[in-house]
Symmetry: none
Subunit: 225 residues, 4 copies
């Protein structure tokens, strides 16, 4: 997989396993209702605490307490603290993926500018869902061991985006498409974050989105001199 492409995934900071598992399954067991709920409760509590207090101050005892279960139970579902965080990563990534994919689907047939508008709005929406959590996951957990997991999802997203852009080859005039995608992924990722997490008071969400579209459109359409 091309590194240039891989980086596209960063836009959603998605982590998850190859065929998009439906959930981080507890050790074994077939059709538990209680279990699934407990598992979710633990992840919810983890997310809440992570947002409130940051990674360093997030400890498994507290998570269990907030989730309304015992530490023992927590460790029945997640073999250790890192696995807990990783599972949260996964769940969050899956949720964002769904939003983004749905948005890309809906772009079918739109004009270039409109498609850009749609996808960028989609990204903004996806980030607004669980803004705080996304922030913490990204800033404080960069170096866990996510690098491997990343690769797989990145492949999905990057190919989707490349597909999206390939619908509009007539309008795109960049000298080097791979390089352009690499540049855009990083720019947009940062901008979406900025817009969602620390938009200055004088700027509306719409203005900011429009400006991102302008930047992207300009960059892709203008031929090199």
């Amino acid at each position: 997989m091309d590194h240039t492409m891989r980086v596209i995934a960063r836009i959603c900071y998605s982590h998850s396993d190859k065929p998009m598992k439906t959930a981080v399954a507890p050790r074994k067991s077939p059709r538990q209702a209680r279990s699934q709920a407990t598992c979710e409760a633990i992840l919810d509590a983890t997310a809440r605490i992570l947002v409130e207090r940051g990674y360093a101050a997030t400890n498994t005892n507290l998570v269990a307490e907030r989730a309304g279960v015992s530490v023992g139970s927590l460790y029945q579902y997640f073999p250790n603290k890192d696995a807990l965080i990783a599972a949260l990563h996964d769940r969050h990534a899956r949720q964002m993926n769904e939003v983004v994919e749905r948005e890309i689907m809906r772009c079918e047939g739109l004009a270039f500018e409109a498609a850009l508008q749609a996808i960028i709005s989609g990204l903004v929406e996806a980030h607004r869902m669980e803004a705080g959590l996304h922030r913490v996951l990204e800033t404080q957990l960069a170096g866990l061991d996510t690098l491997d997991e990343h690769a797989a999802v990145e492949a999905r997203i990057s190919s989707q985006l490349r597909t999206l852009l390939s619908r509009y080859t007539d309008e795109i005039r960049v000298p080097n498409l791979d390089l352009a995608i690499y540049v855009l992924m990083h720019s947009l990722h940062a901008l979406v974050h900025a817009v969602v997490y620390e938009r200055p008071s004088g700027v509306t969400l719409e203005e900011a989105t429009a400006e991102m579209v302008r930047l992207t459109s300009l960059y892709l359409r203008t031929p090199a001199t």
Copy 2:
């Protein structure tokens, strides 16, 4: 201070106190030479360990040992662990600031494109200086309590950049300069990081820098339609 502006500082991820104090002064005593050296040695050790082992594995006892002083001494210079990290933040920010400011100085009289090239190269160079440290500081220590300190330096940098751009008002055609600066700061910050810390194999530093210049130039020069 305008939030839009403030954000410019993010480019260098600079942290430091209002009037750029020369150093985080040890508790009292004014004129010791030993102290200054000890203080630096401690910060150096902190930086080294932070890079080698990450924040979680960085502890004060280890820092003291590596710095060749006793823990007791460490606590004579820095009241607690957070202050130690903050001081390292400061020192690093100051160093980057110097590089950036020097670069901006040297742009005087250059043509627009050349000036952009110079400043972007300067940013890249600044980030290459202590890449590993910068990375750790940014990814693992985002949410300490830096937010306040940020503000001050940000003011300096953002005003400098605004000054820089104001030399070229003839060439700049953006509808909203504040918004444009906001957008550029975030884009460039992300791109500089990407280029320095995870450039894909097929892309040279020069290509990437040139592409950033192209993006910036395009964005600033093209009037809205």
Copy 3:
């Protein structure tokens, strides 16, 4: 019961209850076939894990899983972990007892030396049966609460051995028979273990057994000077 005699039992390191109960009975219910099998399965699993991983790493959940039953079931058969271990002790002791007793039976009518040879070979065989388990039970579980249980079985074995030796009073010249039995029990116990569990490379099982017979015979036959 004489302590001197009691100690004879150590030869087989046997533990079990007074009148040789047939099994540690599950809490209630008399005539289930399933139960008996389950009970055995649990003991088998316990033995296997004990040998593979040692006492410290042997836990009831794992035992249940390996036995193919639920923890709940395990606790239906054994009120707690110690009871489980004790039951295994018992079963193992009973099995070794059977081997030893059978061997003693078969000695009837043999000449002294031949009888010694037979009984010592019998002990070696008994220890070879479940060598690993025997080892763990002896080394890692010495001080549970076995001391009491010991007494009873010891009585049986020691009296049997005394009976055996009493067939050959003509040949035995020891000044103090009780003391001699005490000495032999400990010597032979240690030697059988050594021979079975850590025989040096240059020594065959036959040689070692012959040497034990020589030692025993010498010791019992030579009158004090």
Copy 4:
């Protein structure tokens, strides 16, 4: 090293490092008085608890408390629980070694029987020093990782004993000396333990020792028929 020989060491169940280190040194530090005392206090507490409650119930918090230090201190001297136990092993082995070696020294020039008497008494004395501790160390801690450490000391002791016996080649008539040493080591080890730790009421220490001498002497002096 010959396995037959190696086994001689079992008599004292000695563990320790190659050149008989003077003490399990704390992490570094040169001339601490407080430290050495603390270290000893911790080992003493460990020994006491080990004897009172067995290995399973010995935990580091309790050890620290009984030693009158904090858990932190304990971990400053011993990196983990196993190291603590190992250090106790070492200290104990060293102490026993000293007793045994001293005794062997004193045998110089004695007649065979008298020498046997002396060395066996020495072993008994060595075991009486810290009987309870020796018992626990041997029975409950067989499988830690002592096997390696054993080898070294074993070499010392076994060679000493072989030297001792070699003084009396005229009197020794065994067909295979290595085998005989192997047999004697195990027998005596077990007997010394028995005599020290569970001597039956009717037997005095002197009687038992005399009987061990008789056994040994008989065994070594009688030629094979």
